[in-house]
Symmetry: C2
Subunit: 250 residues, 2 copies
Amino acid sequence: MASLPPPRCAACALFFDENFCARLAPDELANLNAASRVVSLRRGEQIPAGTIELSPILAVERGELSLQQVLHDGRRSISAFFVCGDIIDLRQADENRFGSLVALSDVTFCNLSPQAFDMIMERNQNAREFVWSNLQNRVYRSLNHISDLANKKAPEKLASFILECRNRLPGRKSSGRVTIPFRRRDVAEYLGMQPETISRSFRDLETRGLIDVETTSVVRICNLPDLRMLANGARDDDTGIGLRVLRVSA
Amino acid sequence: MASLPPPRCAACALFFDENFCARLAPDELANLNAASRVVSLRRGEQIPAGTIELSPILAVERGELSLQQVLHDGRRSISAFFVCGDIIDLRQADENRFGSLVALSDVTFCNLSPQAFDMIMERNQNAREFVWSNLQNRVYRSLNHISDLANKKAPEKLASFILECRNRLPGRKSSGRVTIPFRRRDVAEYLGMQPETISRSFRDLETRGLIDVETTSVVRICNLPDLRMLANGARDDDTGIGLRVLRVSA
DNA sequence: CGGCAAGTTGAGCCAGGTCAACTCCGGTGG
DNA sequence: CCACCGGAGTTGACCTGGCTCAACTTGCCG
């Protein structure tokens, strides 16, 4: 009965919604499952060092995983975070400065066998395109994040972050509510600010009438267009703009 | 005579040094060449808007290409730059906020045919691995850049940038000289600072005895270990550290 | 040698960092 | 059930690193 998915997979979010495992042939899924294992982390826990060397490919099933970098004097930053559906290939991590993977909430991920993964990459174009696209999107998100960090003011950064949460995390967009899955401290480290400034910026957005801070982890967007404008430095949209022609300084 | 490379390719940097085109079979190279074209840009010029939609895959042969994002009020940032050997696939650029590609110096690149490129990706594992690795490295560089922007002081950012130039640009490392291929203004936009602050930071590194500013575009590194330490927030190395275990805040 | 853009230097200012006190809230034990 | 506790978040007061603006110097190209 190769056509039935392994029981673990049948209940996994990655098996649905055009995610990675949904694109695998039954035998590919069975092989991958047999050589992989599911790992859970509590908030604040870090991926154990040894496991990465052994199986450096992760598929996030649930929760938010962050990539943290720490300087010698203790300054810490969160360079990126991963959500359900993200595929993380760490095989070049030790040739590059990388950091640590820390759970921002309770996380479940699947530790994929590199051999089985590579075999799928070799043969299954559909799966390959998913992984490629996932990595490309990661690059684009990083670029946006760089733009946020490089030259935006505190409330602009926060507005941008709220919209990123809105776009990347599930949740009903129509209600106007966005879940902020991290603590203030983590938001601060992601945006390169202090927790105090995050708090003041939430207040700021609230007094401008853009959002309503319902709880520490839920905001309601009151004025989406203006929030977008603010997030983009008063630019007029935040949807894809692609390559836009801009006047070049001589 | 399918075994002779096309004349244009035989003189191209990408055909050597384990670069992308060096990994192609003769017929693959011939096909790709026939469907591609070489483009040159002067410093400050932007990639013409239309060309990207038509052939959104670039291979940089010479010079430095930058990815710029501009906010409505004119604030500009350079999110990344590309050097010889980099492969840029822009096919998802319009679904993501992207920006503009602007030449920071005189640039030559090859505008690859997506069809020919995809066929190579499909069949040639060696070439696929190069492109994958190139993209992965881009991700890691972005992450480092994010860490720089998020929580480093001005001189630390500049030290980090000098080391990035040292690592990515050709040049004789042994002489201790590093070429800064951009203008001060561009460095400032890359590091999220003002040109004045860049200038002051160069002076700062000089008075600390870490570098010697020989010309606007050449610095000599006087004390590499300390420069690395500074670049890493007084951490003790800048070579790959891979995943490191760090104490997690409870 | 002159003209212009790039880069540097100086003076003053402000956004956001820092430090400390306070509030809020969930968990725990009497 | 309530008092207590500890960690997260917020608020306020103050301070400083880097931004701003303006003047000056340097370097490049005719």
